[in-house]
Point group: C2
DNA sequence: CGCCCAATTGAGCTTCCTCAAAGCTCGTGG
DNA sequence: CCACGAGCTTTGAGGAAGCTCAATTGGGCG
């Protein structure tokens, strides 16, 4: 992510005019650094900003009364998050730093002005939200209909794809800065069962764990276990209004 | 839903100018009727329209290779659905009629024009998408962290709330036009286990089933089992641009 | 009346959870 | 440099929740 991170993000989908790039640059009103474990925005907390990940991993999650937790999703570099407070007066989920990270801040009122000044960019944001929604749907299916092996396989495949997308140069091995507890909170399992399940996956040659790095030697078979649907990012944005 | 159904929907959140109401009326390019079981839009099918439910119940769902199914969510009167094809060239999920129903059709290109002509309405649509996303998140938590009893309790509470919202005059009893198979597909359970679980809920006095109607006599206790978080629709729309 | 689909019930089994106890790793302070 | 924690991982044993397969019942409709 360069200087104008939001323009870099939207520029992946459509080519932007200089006017548009400048407008996106003005949306960002600052940046913050967080340490692993820091709470960027708490559940039920009001907030007038949304966030764009610049570096590191974060998650958003909900706590249950009994202290258990469900992690809704992971966020990597380039993800826009926290938009629920555009509609609600309190955040629905907590946003937490999984690794040391940096997020850019985007002012809510500036988003409103973007809708007036740059309808095409607003429409593009709308479209990106749809992609995000589809990902949530896929996760819902995973939790509802897959076994422990399937859920973990889906999670690892999804992470591997996202990392490869952000950095196509990697060899497929990636560090996984998640505890088994956190993997359990992502997949709706207990940490103990995550441990056993990952051992089984490793014994079957579906994943390898060396030097703290994960590798997926047989993605097709993993994808089958995971009921994984690769969503090609084949955008269909013909309906977007013209640029300004 | 009256003549200008989209205006009725958005008018719940903000007060609309006549110009805006007219613009929303022009978005709707027709309506269609479906019989129970009819497929409004198939999975992986391209589509250039989105839908607004006028009457009846629908669901959107994904099929797995082995024939199992996960129903992502239910849609009632006033719900806007199918917006994933604003970003993708193929629908992610199928939209199926659960009862005889009627849906209004909204043209995709018209949505694009709305972003240019009525930025406030576009922003409002964006905000409503966030509400929708939060509901998906709550469902994700339910599937990930609740027992069978909890998942079914959450589903019933959510349905009861939605129906009461659409028609505040009811006495709390409602017809549930879902088979136990469908409830299973919603909650990630088998039909057999749905049956047993609902019997237990009935034995505990948490639900009653008479004359085909469901009633929830003890919502607080049900909500506790369900880990149910009532999301007050307390909108915070101060960031919206001015009306036109 | 017969048929079809949904609901119900039983029996046995698999998956995942709970509780508990070791091991491992890495940073910190003596 | 080493001992000590703290947090994470790993393993075991037993139990609970939910699944599968199969059979039966019930209700609506031609």
């Amino acid at each position: 992510m360069g200087e104008n991170c939001l323009a870099d993000l939207l520029g992946r989908s459509v080519s932007l005019s200089q006017t548009e790039r400048d407008a996106l640059g003005r949306l960002v009103i600052g940046a913050r650094q967080y340490r692993r474990g820091a709470v960027v925005r708490g559940e039920r907390q009001p907030s007038s900003e949304i966030y764009l990940v610049q570096r590191g991993w974060l998650h958003c999650s909900l706590l249950l009364e009994d202290g258990r937790r469900q992690i809704i999703r992971l966020h990597f570099c380039g993800d826009l998050l926290g938009a629920d407070t555009l509609a609600l007066d309190e955040a629905a989920d907590a946003i937490v730093a999984l690794t040391d990270c940096e997020v850019a801040l985007i002012d809510r009122d500036a988003i409103g002005r973007l809708f007036v000044d740059h309808p095409r960019l607003a429409a593009l944001l709308f479209a990106l939200q749809q992609i995000d929604r589809v990902m949530l749907m896929d996760r819902l299916v995973s939790l509802g209909r897959s076994s422990a092996q399937g859920r973990i396989a889906a999670l690892l495949l999804w992470i591997a794809n996202r990392l490869a997308q952000n950095d196509p140069a990697t060899d497929g091995r990636f560090a996984l800065p998640l505890t088994q507890e956190e993997i359990g909170d992502l997949t709706g399992l207990t940490a103990v069962h995550v441990n056993r399940t990952m051992r089984v996956l490793a014994e079957q040659g579906l994943i390898t764990r060396e030097a703290g790095k994960i590798y997926l030697p047989d993605k097709p078979r993993l994808a089958q276990i995971a009921n994984f649907v690769e969503r090609k990012a084949r955008f269909d944005l013909g309906w977007l209004p013209p640029a300004r």
